[in-house]
Amino acid sequence: MALKLADVIAPPADVREKDYLWTLNFGPQHPATHTTLRIVLNLDGEVIVNSIPDIGFLHSGFEKLGEHLDFNQYVTIVDRMNYISPVANEIAWHHSVETLLGIDLTPRCQYIRVIFSELMRLHDHLLCVGAAALDLGAFTAFLYAFNQREKINELNEWASGQRFHPSYTRVGGLQRDIDDVWIGKLRAFIKQFPSALADVTGLLNRNRIFLDRTRDIGILTREEAINRSVTGPVARASGLVRDLRKDEPYLAYKDFDFKVVAAKEGDCLARYLVRMEEMRESIKIISQAIENLPSGPVNASVDERMVLPNQLSVYRSIEGLIHHFELFMTNRKWKPPVEEVYAATESPNGELGFYIVSDGTGTAYRARTRPPSLVHFALFNHLAQGHTISEVAPILGSLNIIAAELDR
């Protein structure tokens, strides 16, 4: 019943007629894969006849850990799934937990989470565009993109104390509120970002090599996108216009004026253009959110016994101390309903959802991640067939596969 990799990559039965086909191992340490991916390519000269992705090199049992760490502890693990947009994963995880617990966030917390979601979208798209450009020989665009990513890392650091894995969200709120210095830094960032994006655009949009290597490469039709469960910018570049921020508004997204970007072509160039345009929309959302940032508390009400109390109330009041203690004792914690829930957010890569099965304790009984990278990497063979080896790099670059999320 069970097949093995060797069965699948074995030479075809009519090997005598097809003995001109040859096999090439692409990865797991090929520079264009950027992470540890392995693809076994079956080639006719340079043309890909078939490709068999072999994944699992970074499998670290995150979902098993999710069954042993409580709702706040597991946030440090989801951080490390798509480490290119860490806070987006945290927001998705806590969105599911808060749906399960039935917590309403405060307006200020919703706005800050929206700002972080969009900063992470910039973070992720800059990496995707920059790395795709790097693989196609446009080194300068990559440097401009990474220069901006560094600034977002600084914003992470100022808000949470960590640059790369901020673990910034908590059940019902945030690790801590943002301050005026951070707001000043964010305003400065928004101000200079469009010109940096214009630089990248200027380097790529009329770059003959970049265009020739992405246009009409790896075409995904709308029907195939639906059939293959594709979401996010990859789906929108194929004309499947779905964006959870508009379709199923969560957080405070219905307060903002922004457009859903889509294209019809479904090739690598369309996916690149959709990502670039989405960054412009993200900047619009961030500037609206920061100028209309509500005042008030950042955490949901302490009376609900869901949110960690702040340091002052733990040290100065007996209620705060008891409450803090209750949420940390291994036999207390949260008391969610014995139910299960699937809730999803629009992460930079697509629909990132968590299916939580709860047995009534403060730890998920099952914490399933719906990883966009896994779904998108399953597309690879479909997109790459009939193209040449050199087109593997643009196809991989346009799908933005993050192996840590792919393998979890």
Binding site: M1, G56, G61, L100, I226, V357
Partner: protein, 173 residues
């Protein structure tokens, strides 16, 4: 709990019950998640009906859980199919179940190609075999791995697999 179901889905549930008598076990809802619980023997046919007649053209998510230590659970494995109606933005979760000693379900890869890797992952992690799957191999773990790590009776720290990896010496290499 079924009052939360919109009329369209109520009608669809009645149609499914009429088409497959006794196979739609129950309907539940929780915080906007609408669920059909269906019998595993007709799960594939019901999903096909939902796809072709109910308009649920997209399978967003497929995975499973092991209910071994779950309070009041009757069946060992639960498998969920999160469906999406792309045109109308409706969602529906179809839940079915599988049991030891040989947990088996019909594969839905013939309905949605996107199920291919997700079913492979469920097979890898839980050992649930999907009949008629075109390429049922382990996906994340190596071929020679024994056991299914997301089952509840599998210890979190593993069974010592890492210590038993074959070590190549320089002379052999």
């Amino acid at each position: 709990m079924s009052e939360e179901f919109p009329p369209v889905l109520q009608a669809l549930a009645e149609a499914v019950s009429a088409e497959f008598p006794g196979r739609l076990l129950s309907r539940t809802s929780f915080r906007g998640n609408l669920r059909f619980h269906v019998c595993p023997d007709k799960a594939h046919e019901i999903l096909k009906y939902l796809k072709t007649r109910g308009g649920f053209g997209m399978l967003v998510e497929l995975s499973a859980a092991d209910y071994l230590q779950y309070p009041d659970a009757e069946d060992r494995y639960g498998v969920w199919y999160c469906l999406l109606d792309v045109e109308n933005g409706r969602r529906l979760i179809v839940k079915t179940k599988a049991n030891d000693p040989d947990p088996t379900l019909d594969s839905v890869v013939d309905l949605w190609e996107g199920a291919n890797w997700m079913e492979r992952e469920v097979y890898d992690m839980y050992g649930i075999v999907f009949r008629n799957h075109p390429d049922l191999r382990r996906i994340l773990l190596p071929d020679e791995f024994v056991g299914h790590p997301l089952r509840r009776d599998y210890p979190m720290r593993g069974k010592g697999e890492r210590h038993n990896f074959p070590v190549l010496t320089r002379a052999e290499g």
